[in-house]
């Protein structure tokens, strides 16, 4: 026994150290993925008997207006959420100077990321609220007619995304600020000697060095956009009449909310959402793997 351990110690030790994390990952991530996949082939209310119905849930999904609304909103989220990356970069560069009290400004800009999404959602819904909301009053002052953003199917999704961008920009900003700290001063110096300034300096010298930060910023923003749930739930509950739903919220509505306990249908939505995420996740993994093997 002990001789076996001695012979294979080097080979076994890493697995032993990995085991606690790997087991957790297996139990809480990998196995549930396959469970969701299998539940999506059943008609099940969470209490009674689960009936196998094959791909019926997916067929129904293809013919479901609410599903397409959610899908469309998810795309809008993905595209507009990306604004957080350039916006965060700009603020980071703006704050990357040595002025008295800059740490206070930095923490103030970082503040929205620290507070809970629920609080962000509440604040923005008051901001938009008809009759007393700040934005509503402003619009009323300028155009004479207030717009209740969260009650209008055309604006509601944009209103929620604006709320989501606020903390997301702060997050991206902090990623870039740490990135800017690691910029090699000699390269900047050399570029300056060669006469690079302004946009040229940013584009050819600073940005390439920020690539790792940009990569992380894009990853967290894409994932943040796809799992946007709390803001939708807090600000509109998917309304008015379902026009601000996103896939994650629709899944919750169908499977777990007060009015629906269709575990199978909810699982089918989750599988679709997972498939969309998988496109991005495999892209990211592929890029990371390529970067590592190139070195």
């Amino acid at each position: 026994m002990s001789s076996y351990w001695k012979r294979n110690q080097l080979r076994l030790a890493p697995w032993l150290f990995l085991a606690p994390g790997a087991i957790m990952f297996l139990v809480y991530v990998i196995i549930p993925i396959f469970q969701s996949l299998s539940i999506s082939f059943y008609d099940w209310d969470g209490l009674g008997e689960a009936v196998y119905i094959g791909t019926d849930n997916y067929v129904e999904l293809m013919d479901d207006e609410a599903f397409y609304t959610s899908l469309k909103n998810n795309l809008i989220w993905l595209v507009l959420y990306m604004l957080a990356v350039p916006a965060g970069l700009m603020i980071a560069i703006f704050l990357n100077q040595t002025v008295r009290g800059i740490r206070i400004y930095k923490s103030l800009f970082f503040f929205p990321f620290v507070i809970s999404q629920v609080v962000v959602g509440l604040m923005f819904s008051w901001f938009y609220a008809p009759n007393f909301g700040l934005l509503y009053k402003l619009i009323e002052l300028v155009t004479g007619n207030g717009i209740a953003i969260l009650a209008d199917e055309d604006y509601v999704t944009y209103g929620i995304i604006a709320a989501g961008l606020w903390p997301q920009i702060a997050y991206v900003m902090i990623l870039y600020i740490t990135g800017l700290n690691n910029i090699a001063p000699d390269q900047v110096e050399a570029a300056r000697l060669d006469g690079a300034k302004g946009w040229k300096m940013l584009w050819h010298v600073i940005l390439p060095q920020l690539r790792p930060a940009t990569f992380i910023a894009v990853v967290v923003t894409v994932i943040g956009a796809l799992r946007s749930f709390d803001l939708v739930s807090i600000m509109t509950d998917g309304g008015p009449y379902g026009s601000s739903r996103v896939l994650s919220f629709y899944m919750y509505e169908q499977a777990l909310s007060e009015y629906g306990f269709r575990m199978g249908y909810g699982a089918a939505i989750a599988v679709v959402l997972f498939a969309i995420m998988m496109v991005f996740i495999s892209g990211f993994i592929w890029k990371m793997w390529r970067d590592e093997t190139e070195r």
């Binding site: 953003i149 309304g239 379902g242 509505e253 009015y259």
Partner: protein
């Protein structure tokens, strides 16, 4: 060492004995979803029950009202209490058909509840058996601001046509004729239920919520035609506000009428209204000669199938159903007792009006989201909200609901 051991044994024995002394008192676990006022009322009720039954100790686990609706599915299967709150009508059907609630017909039988709780019996009955005991209900109707009526110079209507005519005058005075806050969807269903029951009658409404009639039926369209008459006069941004926000509009006199349940009276009064300027009227007749049906959502207590202390739980149900207990409980709740031998506070005009309106009603509906199955309720209420914002989409909405009906009721 031995001394220490015997000491420990003696101590343990003492512990065990005191434990068995406590075991004389049987525990009754009760999961509920009370807001602060009802919670206080129920704590008083439980104290009375424990005084009458000193050998029973009721352990009340109070949940957040909204969270309870999802929590109940977990605790019924995982860690069942002996008693649980829920609602009457179709809302309890999923738990009854999946065998999560216990048949308590014997409690009804033994205590003569079929007679005393006659008005609520139908909504507690599935497959000819009773599955719980109702302890309260409340009326719905139109609450109005008398000052707003004065400001617009109109009389309180007695007919639907009169109500619609008033709306134009309210608009001139800058007052919303009808207010609602449909962010949480359900307030819109109250308006639909009444319009449909007044236009087509109780039986048609029940058939519709039970999925027996098509949503594209001409009778349904007739209901929406009545709704379209008042649609332009409903508070404009109702989809963005909660029912309490709309209540504020009524309190401030910016809105005149509100189709609501009696629980809203507390909110109106907190906002500063009094019995002098807050009015209540039964929803006016639309199709002449139809027997008048009302909304009266009923709150109930059930014994989960997994209950451990069934005997005492049944004792508790019988206690809650008793006339004197319901009188006291509902006085504290500010609602109506379901026991016909109970009495209500004659000094409260809203309670007396509600008691009058419900006891003389032809039939009682539970409310759209309790009469219709959950999925249909959700789709329907979204449709009502959409109709109130974009009335020109009616056909598309009804087609969508009809498609959903085909799937949901199979």
């Amino acid at each position: 060492m031995t001394h220490l051991k015997t000491g420990a044994v003696a101590f343990a024995a003492a512990l065990l004995m005191s434990g068995s002394a406590f075991a004389q008192q049987r525990m009754l676990n009760y999961n509920a979803d009370f807001d602060p006022t009802p919670l206080a009322a129920f704590q008083a009720l439980i104290a009375d029950f424990e005084a009458e039954n000193p050998d029973i100790k009721v352990n009340l686990n109070n949940f957040d009202h909204e969270g309870y609706k999802t929590a109940i599915r977990n605790f019924l299967t995982a860690d069942s209490p002996d008693l649980a709150n829920w609602y009457a009508g179709n809302r309890m059907a999923p738990f009854v058909t999946s065998g999560q609630f216990m048949d308590v017909s014997d409690v009804w039988e033994a205590n003569g509840l079929g007679d005393q709780l006659a008005s609520a019996k139908a909504s507690m009955t599935i497959d000819g058996k009773q599955w719980g005991v109702p302890y309260t209900y409340y009326q719905w109707g139109i609450y109005y601001n008398k000052d707003a009526y004065k400001a617009a110079g109109v009389e309180v209507p007695t007919t639907w046509d009169g109500f619609v005519e008033n709306c134009a005058k309210f608009k001139e005075a800058g007052i919303d004729c009808l207010t609602t806050g449909s962010k949480a969807l359900w307030p819109a269903a109250g308006i639909f239920d009444y319009l449909n029951m007044r236009t087509n009658g109780y039986e048609f409404h029940m058939d519709l919520t039970a999925g027996k009639v098509a949503w594209t039926d001409d009778k349904v369209k007739a209901t929406f035609a009545e709704w379209a008459k008042v649609q332009p006069f409903i508070t404009e941004n109702h989809a963005a506000i909660d029912w309490q926000d709309a209540a504020a509009l009524l309190v401030q006199g910016k809105a005149a009428n509100y189709v609501m349940g009696n629980f809203a009276v507390a909110t109106f009064k907190e906002g500063g209204m009094t019995n002098d300027n807050l009015g209540f009227m039964v929803f006016p007749e639309i199709t002449p000669g139809l027997p008048r049906a009302e909304e009266a959502p009923t709150d109930t207590i059930h014994i989960p199938a997994g209950a451990k202390n069934v005997d005492d739980a049944k004792k508790f149900l019988a206690f809650v159903a008793r006339a004197d207990v319901q009188t006291k409980l509902n006085a504290a709740l500010g609602q109506l007792p379901t026991n016909k031998d109970s009495s209500v506070d004659a000094a409260d005009p809203f309670i007396s009006a509600g008691f009058e309106s419900l006891s003389s009603a032809y039939a009682l509906a539970q409310f759209f989201d309790r009469d219709a199955p959950a999925e249909m309720a959700k789709m329907g209420m979204e449709g009502f909200q959409e109709f109130m914002v974009k009335p020109d989409r009616l056909d598309a909405i009804l087609d969508r609901l009809e498609k959903a009906r085909g799937k949901i009721y199979q």
